[in-house]
Amino acid sequence: MDVAIIGIGIHPFGRTEGMSGLDQGVYAVRQALKDAGVEWSDVECAFGGSSAAGNADIMVNQLGLTGLQFINVNNGCATGGSAVISAYASIKAGQSDIALAVGFDKHPRGSFDPKPADWGIDDWYGDQGFMLTTQFFALKIQRYMAEFGITPKALALVAEKAFHNGSLNENAWRRSPVDLETIENAPMINDPLNKFMFCSPAEGGVALILASEKKVKELGIQKPVWVKGAAVKTRLEGSFEVFSPSIQIERSTPPTTLASNAAFEMAGVGPEDIDVAQLQDTESGAEIMHMAENGFCADGDQEKWLAERATWLNGKLPVNTDGGCLANGEPIGASGLRQVHENVVQLRGEGGERQVPGEPKVAYSHVYGAPGLSAVAILER
């Protein structure tokens, strides 16, 4: 029994004054139901969450008290990915025929301010200014650039593409293109990453309606998008992850590669079969490293790919076609679902100005988060 995504909904990302994160989630659910052509009372189970905007299951107050099973998901940056895999598993197991995956968030301005104790770390680490996610990404790409010959220009090229794609996406936060020279000369935040190369915490909501193959036929869904592979993996010993006072000298396979391999195997396809990809771009360097960690190119080849604009909309592998985290910001609970939402848009051929040419058939999404986990989903139409 295959599982399909039959409905998608999104509340525009960015800043929406006067609207709670939860309300943005409800907005997305209503849109997804309409898109699927089903009623809230048809949904048999739901999985959802936010990081900073409350419990997802309270949304039944607005959507209707139908008695459905609603499980709150709280899995950091992989909250959305975990909601999707849970909805998928529920249908696959025969527990339900229609399931909802929903994520939303609303973060205050500025960087995240996690508490050391929540991450099993002593206070001194935060006291002296090490408890910042931005530092991890800077340290990881700095080392990677030295090892594999990636240049600062490559970091700027990623940001240039993100803001271009964002300008074509009506739901994006950053909707103005930024030229390469402006990006290259912007003030540093954490070297080698400057202010155009980091995404910011933001707001938004995304909902997906999943259904069994039986239900897809029964409802006569016109453009089902099938979930062919889905995996969530956590880190191994020797992984280099965010908030690490120390790391082992010997490196191991990162969680992204573990999740990628598992999803590819499940889907029975390889990197060469992917027509469009959404890869976690918390900052420019992350997109570059994740291109290799997900198996799309060898370490160091990104330099050439970016110079050739191979990841632009008309390139050999369009990456982050909706502008990614850089142009959309990162509402933690909704971010991973935004990637899946965009892949459904692309596979349906509904991308408008940002539609990837050549009628893409297989799409890939990858989200990475603290404290070292990744979720990958492979969709096919």
Binding site: W124, D127, A138, I247
Partner: protein, 129 residues
């Protein structure tokens, strides 16, 4: 006074070595977990593994420095590979970021940190050897 107990002893960084796997971690785990580790002295000398500069004032909490937006000065930090032991995150002092090169030799030192609640304390840092 040092920023925390269990970081430095007799002028050397101390970590924990797992009694079964031999894995070395920093800092020495505290609480119940400490029973699984032996205290181990970490090397005073290491190599720069990666580095960056903190150019904005971190949010407080968790940051406990006393600087304001006006007085904040960027600080260098990075990871230092201690040979055959572990890679530790540390402040890097006594140099300019243009002096830094991955793989360069560094040695342990201490540096003062103006802590909101504890006053001026020392913390560990590495500096070009």
């Amino acid at each position: 006074m040092f920023i925390a107990d269990n970081l430095i002893e007799d002028g050397h960084l101390i970590g924990g070595q797992h009694k079964e796997s031999g894995k070395i971690v920093f800092p020495l785990p505290s609480g119940a977990e400490q029973a699984f580790y032996d205290t181990v002295q970490l090397s005073d000398e290491g190599k720069l593994w990666s580095w960056s500069v903190q150019r904005f004032l971190p949010k407080s909490p968790p940051y406990m420095g006393t600087e304001t937006l006006e007085t904040f000065k960027p600080y260098i930090f990075g990871y230092v590979e201690l040979p055959r032991q572990v890679i530790v995150q540390s402040r890097i002092v006594g140099c300019d970021e243009s002096d830094l090169k991955i793989g360069m030799a560094l040695r342990l030192t201490t540096t003062p940190f103006d802590h909101k609640e504890k006053g001026v304390v020392d913390t560990f840092a590495y500096t070009p050897a």
